[in-house]
């Protein structure tokens, strides 16, 4: 398959069907065979929960992939196809479902958590995107982001020069050097373009924190971007190429560990999907920045002094909790720097998505639906009566800020890493004890 088709304007039905067919493995066949059409997954999805539109039922979003499975892997499906009484998947199906596949799904993983028969609906939705991307039925915003990531190196079209400018700025502000291309460093830190452009204070925060903890780290001028548009649009070839860039840089620098930035999908891509995509074990320890900070804090290498008195809650990024099990780490860190932390019944592993993951934030067409789904977050924050929300994902942060502004709410959004950096104790001060 010609992978450039993912972001080329033309469509290809054959390529799409072929790619969908290739997604059907024993797990998919098991899950489709098991579905009892109970509809419980609908209740878990913020798009259904806030609109009441049954089309947003997670398993319904998988109708195209299911059609291919039915017609090719089931007795009656094959029979009906042979007799010509069932319609094969056509361009119209792709056109009709594109919105459900990309605008109305953030790949948040909530539906998977509730299915009584154990269907990993999210994994299937991720797989289905492979077929849609190959067929050319993907939103323009995501196609553009994918093209820029492959051609320029970042979904926002950001070059090393732009990052270099931010680095200079951070160095002036912190008085610390930001290590670049340092061979033999222990850790290679990755960033997401949203952090670089929208929240450059994140770079300042990790510089201060890692310096304070005495961590040997570096950025790479060859591979600084961790956002993986290949994962978001559903193009394994692009995803693989982007991951390979990082691993090539890691190898040339001789690092042992790779730090995933806050960005949830970047974390899932490099931590959980990279080995499967490359077909081999990855010879690096890959760790999310929050996991590393928690390790350092517990080892007494990140003493903090003082805590904010603002009433806060933690917004769990979906990829961290439902794809990486990173639930306790951010809480331990937050408790160390915030005195009034509140949790809701859905906090943690079942937290509601911000509505902008899975490439939805790069898809302008989806904005109205995204803001409608945000009402779920609004209700969550209002019930908890918080003054601020802390999160550990630049994309979540951006989407939360937009939603809060849209609904004219009086809630501040903070980055966990930045908050931690703010309360970092000066040398010789603070609690060097585990938080």
């Amino acid at each position: 398959m010609n992978r450039m088709s993912t972001y080329a304007p033309e469509t290809s039905l054959e390529r799409g069907i072929e790619r969908l067919r290739a997604q059907i493995d024993a797990r998919v066949a098991t899950w489709f065979s098991s579905c009892v059409h109970c509809g419980l997954c609908a209740e878990a999805c913020h798009f259904y929960a806030e609109t009441g539109d049954p089309r947003y039922t997670p398993i319904h979003k998988l109708a195209p992939l299911k059609k291919v499975w039915r017609q090719e892997y089931t007795f009656f499906g094959r029979l009906a196809r042979k007799l010509g009484i069932s319609e094969p998947l056509d361009e119209q199906d792709f056109a009709d479902w594109e919105e459900l596949v990309y605008d109305a799904c953030t790949l948040c993983g909530r539906c998977t958590m509730v299915c009584p028969v154990g269907n990993d609906i999210t994994a299937m939705l991720r797989k289905q995107r492979e077929g849609f991307a190959a067929a050319g039925y993907a939103p323009e915003g995501l196609k553009g982001a994918t093209r820029r990531t492959v051609e320029v190196g970042s979904p926002m079209g950001l070059t090393w020069k732009a990052l270099e400018a931010q680095i200079r700025h951070v160095e002036r502000e912190t008085g610390l050097g930001v290590p670049v291309d340092r061979e033999g460093a222990d850790y290679l830190a990755l960033l997401s373009s949203l952090e670089i452009m929208g929240y450059p204070e994140y770079i300042g925060a990790i510089t201060r924190i890692l310096h304070r903890a005495g961590v040997s780290w570096t950025l790479s001028s060859r591979a600084f971007e961790a956002t993986n548009s290949g994962i978001q649009i559903g193009d394994a070839d692009v995803a693989r190429e982007l991951l390979q860039r990082v691993f090539d840089a890691a190898e040339s620098l001789g690092v042992k560990n790779i730090i995933s930035p806050e960005c949830g999908h970047a974390y899932t891509a490099i931590r959980w999907e990279s080995a499967g995509l490359l077909g081999r074990e990855v010879p690096y320890r890959i760790i999310h920045i929050v996991e590393l900070l928690d390790e350092l804090k517990r080892a007494g290498r990140l003493p903090t002094a003082g805590r904010t008195g603002v009433r806060v809650t933690f917004h769990d990024p979906c990829n961290l909790v439902r794809k990486g099990g990173v639930v306790d780490e951010p809480r331990r860190l937050l408790e160390a720097v915030a005195a009034d932390v509140v949790e809701g019944p859905d906090s943690g592993v079942m937290n509601w998505c911000c509505g902008g993951g899975g490439g939805v934030s790069a898809n302008e067409r989806a904005e109205g639906l995204r803001l409608a789904a945000f009402r779920r977050k609004k209700a969550q924050f209002e019930t908890l009566g918080v003054e601020a929300v802390v999160t550990a994902c630049a994309n979540c942060r951006n989407i939360l800020e937009e939603g809060i502004e849209h609904y004219a709410m009086d809630v501040e959004v903070m980055g966990l890493t930045e908050l931690l950096a703010e309360y970092l104790a000066e040398d010789g001060q603070g609690d060097a004890v585990a938080g």
């Binding site: 998919v28 098991t30 065979s33 609908a42 509730v114 154990g118 080995a275 990486g324 859905d346």
Partner: protein, 212 residues
């Protein structure tokens, strides 16, 4: 006709059921489970086993908000299980075919409760299926056929309870045969695949450090 239903058709139905189920499972397994070479955060085996149980009640608000399908689902499945394995005629039937000492059937009042639970559950689930916009959208002919055949098998089973009239017993056997013949080609297969699905999802989640 009676001898055909109780003889060759019964053997044929049982054969189709057993071979069909085995064929479906082998065909699924033949597609291959992908290996996940990412270094795990937890044990896949333990997660797979935990996954078998963990899905028995929907998480958080989803269970509370959907008490009807959850309770009706339990009523139907538990009632059906009790009828299938503890109704006196079934115990005698299984005793005849299976080795071992057999087991005690449930009393008549147990049968009545199990049948009421199973019927109420099945009917409520079907009513929800046709009335709730989500399940109405999701449901296919297969779901209605499966529900209809199950209802028929249960209904004729109640009619034949005292085996006082051979015709009713034959009718029940015939209804069960239809169900057995349809089973491997339908969503009724979830009775087997759900354990595979729960285990696969639980194992993957546990490898990622997630309890799912």
């Amino acid at each position: 006709m009676t001898s055909f239903i109780l003889g060759p058709l019964w053997t044929f139905s049982l054969l189709v059921f057993c071979l069909g189920v085995a064929w479906r499972i082998v065909a699924i397994l033949a597609l291959g489970f992908p290996r996940d070479p990412a270094s795990p955060r937890g044990s896949g085996l333990a997660g797979g086993l935990a996954g078998l149980l963990r899905r028995s009640w929907p998480r958080n608000g989803v269970g509370r908000k959907n008490l009807l399908p959850v309770i009706a689902g339990y009523a139907f499945h538990l009632g059906l299980f009790a009828l299938l394995f503890f109704a006196a005629p079934h115990v005698r039937f299984l005793d005849h075919y299976l080795p071992g000492p057999g087991w005690t059937p449930m009393p008549r009042w147990g049968f009545v409760i199990a049948a009421e639970l199973a019927f109420a559950g099945l009917i409520l689930l079907w009513l929800r299926r046709v009335m709730h916009p989500v399940t109405r959208l999701l449901s296919s002919l297969d779901d209605h056929l499966a529900a209809g055949l199950t209802f028929l098998a249960m209904f004729t089973g109640c009619l034949a309870l005292y085996e006082s009239f051979t015709g009713l017993r034959v009718l029940h056997v015939f209804a069960v045969e239809l169900l057995l013949l349809y089973f491997p080609f339908s969503h009724l297969m979830h009775a087997f695949t759900l354990f595979m699905g729960r285990a696969a999802t639980g194992a993957r989640a546990a490898r990622h450090g997630v309890g799912a």
